[in-house]
């Protein structure tokens, strides 16, 4: 860029630039601004302010033209977004439309994105579990990917730190495979979830059904009230944005917290083209941005850059950050950037009925969603014909058997009654997938988006390990359901493409060795020490836990390291 003069350098200079305002970018902003650093957060999408910009949050079902359903014309224009469960009339404005932001699929991949301030933190399923050493030691033990450069002891205090601020509801279950955290009261299981828990623990001593742990304020502490958030009101309308701040999002929590310090500059509508690398200074000096509306190019400068654009977009930005020093993308000396992408296999569900415990139903709503069954396969040693394993959700709800036959006054009477039927129970699979070089993203050679940035090309697929693992999930859960006396067991072995799990990870993985990884143990680019990546792109392996809590903890930990390094003049 030759059109940059000294003045613009002054006004566009910050201590830190954070690219992305989602769950990890929000954390980076909070940590840096609290420590006194002037921080610029760049968000490619529009601004979404807490409460003010939640247009549907207090609507009743009859206030939606189509009672929540997406009109056919919109579905046909957006086949990818339409496959996502939150793409409904009440939250569709928070989901990227297919044709506005195209990408290339070498193999089917449903890339679900949230381009707005807060990103997907507005929409996430809010499930939060810690990793244990059984996860961090996975690649080394089982011989895939590379060894994680950290262990549980390195991240444990940061899990605690993130949990205390975000507010995580859960029980201390005392499980080696799912370490306990700093919990607010958990949301208790219902009668049949408890019953299933009992059956499972009796028949399978190493399998545990627990209350799902989630980022909801079941009983807020002062730190949560200080954020302007209140107790979760069990609305379970979270995807609309919560007027109580009952669940954790960047919008309700980290961003307003960062703004209060006076050190935050939030710039929405800022599409990042690339990171600027200075060959003489041998470090990154700033970020090239295109204004989403005016398409004007500009540059911003900082001592430290955190890349939190969401896993695949972080890969795109790094790959597009080309310089003499890094002709193949920032930090990509080993040619591995964009490779070893993995995800969670969500492609199987099991549903059934139970006609016991009929003296119970439920009242109100459970924001945690029900029960969680942590990974039990290959936990302490290899014992199956596939690597690693899966976690599973489990939930039960009492059905209502309305008689809707016939017409007229009798039908009307019948509709007003709600005779309870059997319990409906269901489980879904969350399988670990193995990162492989063949699962990658790279830049389109010839196609660019409306802002001149190359389109992302995605080539990610299931493999034989995924198929064997899914078969085992179906067998094991069917057996456990049968053991519990559940009837009409129905397996839904879907062909959903990778991506719809919205847990894509990797591409810029952490590792000990710069020859085989992009980031070191502090999420710092091996070859460019003032750039950090703390979103899903950093993940060396995926394990089975919902990943967001780990991104929060890694981000807070990396900021702490970066600040200490600055103070020691190391970066």
């Amino acid at each position: 860029m030759s059109n940059i003069n000294i003045d613009s350098q002054k006004t566009n200079t910050y201590d830190v630039i954070v690219i992305g305002s989602g769950i990890s970018g929000g954390w980076a902003a909070k940590e840096f601004t609290e420590k006194g650093f002037k921080t610029l957060v760049l968000e490619r999408g529009r601004d979404v302010q807490h409460i003010k910009d939640y247009p549907t949050t207090n609507k009743y079902p009859y206030e939606f033209d189509h009672r929540g359903q997406i009109p056919l014309a919109i579905q046909k224009e957006n086949p990818i977004a339409s496959r996502c469960y939150v793409f409904r009339e009440d939250a569709m404005h928070f989901v990227v439309k297919d044709n506005e932001h195209p990408y290339q699929q070498e193999k089917p991949f449903d890339w679900i994105r949230g381009y707005q301030v807060g990103g997907k933190s507005l929409l996430w399923a809010r499930q939060t579990q810690r990793w244990s050493d059984l996860d961090f030691e996975g690649p080394a033990r089982d011989g895939f990917a590379v060894d994680w450069p950290i262990r549980y002891k390195d991240i444990a205090p940061w899990y605690s730190y993130a949990e205390r601020f975000a507010g995580i509801a859960g029980n201390k279950d005392g499980l080696q495979e799912l370490p306990d955290g700093e919990f607010l009261p958990g949301f208790p299981l219902n009668a049949v979830e408890d019953y299933f828990k009992g059956v499972v623990s009796k028949k399978y001593p190493t399998r545990h059904v627990i209350s799902a742990r989630c980022a909801h304020l079941s009983k807020p502490n002062q730190i949560h009230l200080d954020q302007g958030r209140a107790k979760c009101q069990n609305r379970t309308l979270c995807q609309r944005g919560c007027p109580f701040g009952g669940y954790f999002s960047s919008n309700a929590s980290t961003l307003p917290w960062a703004a209060k310090t006076g050190n935050l500059t939030l710039r929405p509508n800022s599409v990042v083209d690339s990171i600027i690398y200075d060959d003489e200074k041998e470090k990154a000096t700033g970020v090239r941005v295109i204004d989403a509306n005016t398409k004007q190019e500009m540059e911003f400068y900082a001592k430290i850059i955190f890349v939190n654009a969401a896993a695949l977009n972080t890969n795109l930005i790094l790959l597009n950050s080309k310089s003499n020093r890094f002709p193949n993308g920032l930090g990509n000396d080993n040619g591995q950037l964009g490779k070893f992408v993995a995800f969670h296999n969500y492609s199987a569900r099991i549903n059934a009925e139970y006609d016991g415990m009929l003296e119970w139903s439920t009242d109100g709503r459970n924001p945690a969603g029900g029960g969680y069954l942590p990974r039990f396969r290959n936990l302490l040693k290899q014992e199956t014909d596939f690597k690693r394993g899966y976690a599973a959700g489990f939930s039960a709800r009492r059905s209502v058997n309305r008689d809707s036959s016939g017409v007229g006054a009798s039908l009307k009477d019948n509709l007003a009654k709600a005779p309870l039927g059997p319990w409906q129970v269901g489980s879904h699979m969350m399988g670990e997938t193995i990162p492989k070089e063949e699962n990658f993203v790279n830049l389109s050679k010839d196609k660019k988006d409306a802002w001149g940035v190359p389109l992302l090309n995605i080539s990610v697929d299931y493999d034989e390990n995924d198929r064997l693992m899914k078969k085992d999930y179906i067998e094991q859960l069917s057996e456990m359901f049968t053991e519990a006396g559940f009837k009409n067991i129905k397996v839904n072995d879907s062909s959903q493409a990778p991506g719809l799990d919205i847990h894509e990870m990797g591409g810029a993985r952490m590792g000990h060795d710069p020859k085989t990884s992009i980031l070191n143990k502090w999420n710092q680019v091996h070859a460019c020490k003032n750039v950090f990546v703390t979103d899903g792109a950093c993940m060396t392996s995926t394990s089975t836990q919902n990943p967001s809590l780990t991104y929060m903890a890694l981000t807070a930990r990396a900021v702490d390291f970066a600040v200490k390094s600055i103070n020691k003049f190391e970066i």
């Binding site: 207090n58 009743y60 079902p61 009859y62 206030e63 939606f64 033209d65 189509h66 009672r67 359903q69 009109p71 056919l72 014309a73 949301f187 208790p188 299981l189 219902n190 009668a191 979830e193 408890d194 009101q233 069990n234 609305r235 309308l237 009929l358 003296e359 119970w360 139903s361 439920t362 009242d363 109100g364 709503r365 459970n366 924001p367 009492r398 809707s404 036959s405 016939g406 017409v407 007229g408 006054a409 039908l411 009307k412 509709l415 007003a416 709600a418 005779p419 309870l420 039927g421």
Partner: protein, 160 residues
């Protein structure tokens, strides 16, 4: 629900703005009578006063394939034909028991022709959906709570 009256349209057209389907005012009134047969006014409001036929038209317009929309109106014509064949009068001229008999006949007919079956399925399911999610039902009969503020995992009920 935003059902905008289309005052400027010619008087023979449906009272709401529709994009994909062409509905006459007569057809709209007929659909009103059919929906009222499904959910009649009793001590509580029925389909017509809750505008369930207009909700059905809105859903038909926006959420169904062209082929289904075509079958719907063919089925509506067939219903009139059946009314004439069976009672020598149009549906609007039938008594309530006669209207009910005609509709239940379609529901019970195992091999109903495609058009009238499609018409009946859409008409009945959308009338019920509109009714159950109407403001009247959701605030008076089966109350839907915006802010429950509680989770009781063990709620005692009479076993079936």
């Amino acid at each position: 629900m935003a059902l905008l009256p289309s005052c400027l349209r010619d008087s023979g057209k449906s009272s709401i703005a529709l994009t994909n389907i062409d509905v006459s005012l007569d057809q709209e009134h007929l659909l009103g009578d059919i929906s009222e047969t499904i959910i009649p006014e009793t001590k509580t409001p029925g389909a017509k006063s809750l505008n369930l036929h207009l909700f059905t038209l809105k859903m038909l317009d926006d959420c169904y394939e062209k082929e289904d929309q075509k079958l719907f109106f063919e089925g509506l014509d067939e219903l009139q034909d059946r009314s004439e064949a069976k009672f020598s009068r149009s549906f609007q001229k039938l008594t309530v028991p006669e209207r009910e008999q005609l509709l239940v006949g379609i529901e019970k007919e195992e091999q109903a022709p495609a058009a009238i079956k499609k018409f009946y399925d859409i008409m009945k399911s959308k009338t019920i959906e509109g009714y159950m999610s109407s403001k009247y039902v959701m605030t008076n009969l089966i109350v839907w709570e915006l802010v429950p503020g509680r989770w009781n995992p063990y709620y005692p009920v009479k076993s079936a």
